[in-house]
């Protein structure tokens, strides 16, 4: 047991916390069993990244009670910046240190039978439904200590349920905002899209304190049932003293699609796992992610699509920019299982090095247990192409501006794919700030 002996979030603590939240018995039981597992299980061991010295234990689990806001105008200025003020329809859930402080949806959601609520409320009001999916096929509690801890200490998150044949028009947006400097956020998102439904979700993780150690452990489970389409956007921008473990998982049934657009802009040490299982025949996943490493941060990204179904299509695109003394490992894995005939898996990983002291590894991996498939990968690690620079400069654009355009262009696949303009604009600003 390597959690240190002063660990205060023991089983007793978990039991009390669950009781305080008025949780149903199934959830309390899951938490307690997870708490026991967490003591036994090891931390994950991401390849080539040593996380043993990272802070995963120094944090406060319970934030001070928060007053809710009646208008988005009262939110932190930078949180407001993530919101499309002019949107005709707004579906927005803002959580501060795990507690909902602002919530606004348009009435059609309710008419359509869509559930969009925080996970604590869902546990009470939609307990049976949540139980059916919570820690379901997409993620296992006993994978390692962090998956177990997420369940034991879950203190924030969202539940989204879209009934069959329902198409949710406006995106559902969440903002997970860490205000308390030493907060430990154990966020858990569950998205269920029933057969032939459609939903777009966009989450933002933000914090503004740069010095105080804190921890974010976030899991998202996405279930796309037959013929359902889920677009998942995520922009992470947590400050540098925050250690992050983030695990986003998808599970797609027949003819379903789960697409990801992830802007991974954390300033601190980060382990990210994004895995999609294409279980049903004809299911697809298109995963795009961009990341920037700067300062001395260390990051490990895992992009994984596992194809079980026939005629499935898995696309992975990863672009990373590395500067200063930052290091990052980008692992991309297309796994095609035996029997997944006519499956296609492709991936591209490109890392742009802006500093000689930075480190960036691109590891494209194809694991194929079926003959009748197509697959391909491309990977590169390099500097800004001098011929591209020459071309742009030959039109009068100074070198720094040409590099800026090239880098923004390099990260555009995710910016372009995000569904909310305000979030695109903020992400562009974050890129600008991080690179220059």
């Amino acid at each position: 047991m390597s959690i240190d002996t002063t660990w205060k979030y023991d089983e007793k603590y978990v039991e009390d916390f669950s009781a305080k939240q008025n949780e149903p018995k199934w959830l309390k039981d899951q938490r307690l069993s997870a708490s026991r597992l967490a003591e036994k299980l090891e931390m994950p061991k991401p390849e080539k990244t040593n996380i043993k010295t990272w802070n995963f234990t120094e944090f406060e689990h319970e934030g001070t009670p928060k007053e809710t806001f009646s208008s988005s105008e009262e939110l932190h200025e930078q949180v407001q910046g993530l919101i499309d003020k002019n949107a005709a329809q707004q579906n927005l859930l803002v959580q501060r240190d795990g507690q909902t402080v602002f919530y606004e949806t348009n009435s059609t959601l309710e008419e359509q039978g869509v559930i969009f609520t925080d996970i604590a409320t869902a546990a009470i009001e939609h307990g049976d439904l949540l139980e059916r999916y919570f820690m379901g096929n997409a993620v296992q509690v006993d994978e390692h200590r962090f998956t177990a801890l997420n369940v034991a200490l879950m203190n924030g998150g969202t539940f989204i349920y879209v009934p069959k044949n329902v198409k949710v028009e406006a995106p559902l947006q969440t903002i997970y905002w860490l205000e308390q400097a030493d907060m430990g956020l154990f966020n858990h998102v569950v998205i269920v899209a029933e057969a032939n439904s459609e939903v777009t979700y966009l989450e933002n993780y933000v914090s503004y304190d740069t010095e105080t150690p804190s921890v974010v452990n976030a899991i998202a489970e996405v279930y796309a049932e037959e013929g359902a389409n889920v677009s998942f956007g995520g922009v992470d921008h947590l400050e540098k003293a925050t250690t992050v473990y983030t695990n986003r998982r998808g599970y797609a049934l027949k003819d379903a699609s789960i697409d990801w657009a992830l802007g991974q802009m954390n300033e601190g040490n980060t382990v990210s796992d994004n895995t999609t299982a294409l279980v049903g025949d004809g299911s697809t996943s298109d995963k795009k992610s961009v990341a920037i490493g700067r300062g001395e941060q260390s990051q490990n990204f895992w992009a994984h699509i596992i194809q079980f179904g026939k005629n499935t299509d898995g696309q992975i695109l990863t672009h990373g920019v590395m500067k200063d003394k930052a290091s990052a490992i980008f692992n991309g894995v297309n796994k095609i299982e035996h029997g997944a005939t006519k499956a296609n898996g492709e991936q591209t990983e490109r890392v742009l090095m802006l500093s000689e002291r930075a480190r960036g590894d691109a590891n494209p991996i194809l694991l194929i247990d079926e003959d009748d498939v197509t697959a391909g990968h491309a990977a590169s690690v390099g500097r800004v192409d001098p011929v591209q620079l020459y071309y742009m400069m030959s039109r009068g654009i100074p070198q720094t501006e040409a590099e800026r355009l090239i880098i923004h262009g390099f990260l555009a696949p995710v910016v372009d794919a995000l569904p909310i303009q305000a979030v695109k604009d903020r992400l562009t600003e974050v890129i600008e700030r991080k690179v220059y």
């Binding site: 020459y390 039109r395 009068g396 262009g409 555009a412």
Partner: protein, 262 residues
């Protein structure tokens, strides 16, 4: 505005230690169109790249001035802002940067901070030029040359030429890979630029482009320098008779550079 003047004197250029340009001289002014012709491998494209400042080419001797200013002392972007333009044979593709954003950045870099072009004015200008070059309007929002056909890339080079309004433009084999209709469109673009404030140096293998853009002077390049100059009639003769007669006249056995001379 004074008439632009480009002067290249005794230019020597190396690439990776091999000398390609060996004592090249040329002077041209605004209002003039010069053509540089010659067989493959005689240094024509190297000349174009060296004038613009391609990082691979090293100038070992000679001078280049634009309106008396030392071009070799300038960075690539400074050369462009001073009024030089190179329509490239192989333009780069830049993903994620739209043609429109690229063009606007270029124009604003030239105009300078505080004097940026108004967005509406820019869009109007770009639409107008695209129209002239028969370019589809979706083009401006596509990424810079990404996935473009050979012909689209050439049109894009000419579009940029029209938008940038340089003093002196070098067109490096802008005709290669173009069908006759595209060639006409591209020529229309260049002819539209004709004025005392604009000079063009057209590099080509073939005479056919010169059916649409009439040169004032034609130069033949061999062994990394100009070996013969004349008027438009020289291009006609090259078209009908090829280059052999020049080689015979000058006693040149191998016109190429970077290879052992017989």
């Amino acid at each position: 505005m004074a008439t632009p003047n480009l002067k290249i004197e005794n230019l020597h250029v190396e690439i990776e230690g091999t000398e390609i340009i060996k004592g090249f001289d040329l002077e041209m002014n605004g209002g003039e169109i010069h053509a540089i012709m010659g067989p493959n491998g005689t240094g024509k494209s190297t000349l174009a790249s060296a004038v613009m400042g391609h990082p691979k080419y090293e100038i070992t001797k000679g001078t280049i001035t634009l309106d008396g200013e030392d071009v070799l002392d300038m960075e690539v972007d400074e050369r462009a802002r001073a009024g030089l333009f190179l329509a490239m044979q192989y333009p780069s593709e830049v993903s994620g940067v739209t043609n429109s954003d690229f063009m606007r950045s270029a124009i604003n870099a030239k105009r300078g901070e505080g004097n940026e072009i108004q967005l509406m004015k820019f869009i109007r200008q770009m639409d107008e030029k695209m129209n002239m070059l028969e370019i589809d309007e979706s083009f401006s929002q596509r990424y810079l040359n990404e996935g473009f056909s050979g012909g689209e890339k050439k049109r894009n080079e000419i579009l940029q030429l029209l938008m940038m309004e340089p003093k002196i433009a070098i067109l490096d084999e802008i005709d290669s890979g173009l069908d006759i209709d595209a060639l006409k469109v591209v020529s229309k673009g260049v002819n539209d630029m004709k004025s005392p404030d604009f000079g063009a140096l057209i590099i080509t293998h073939y005479q056919r482009l010169l059916n649409y853009i009439t040169p004032d002077k034609v130069h033949v390049m061999m062994q990394g320098r100009i070996v013969k100059s004349g008027g438009a009639e020289l291009a006609q003769r090259l078209e009908s008779e090829g280059y052999e007669w020049i080689k015979e006249e000058l006693g040149i056995e191998n016109e190429r550079v970077g290879e052992p001379q017989e």
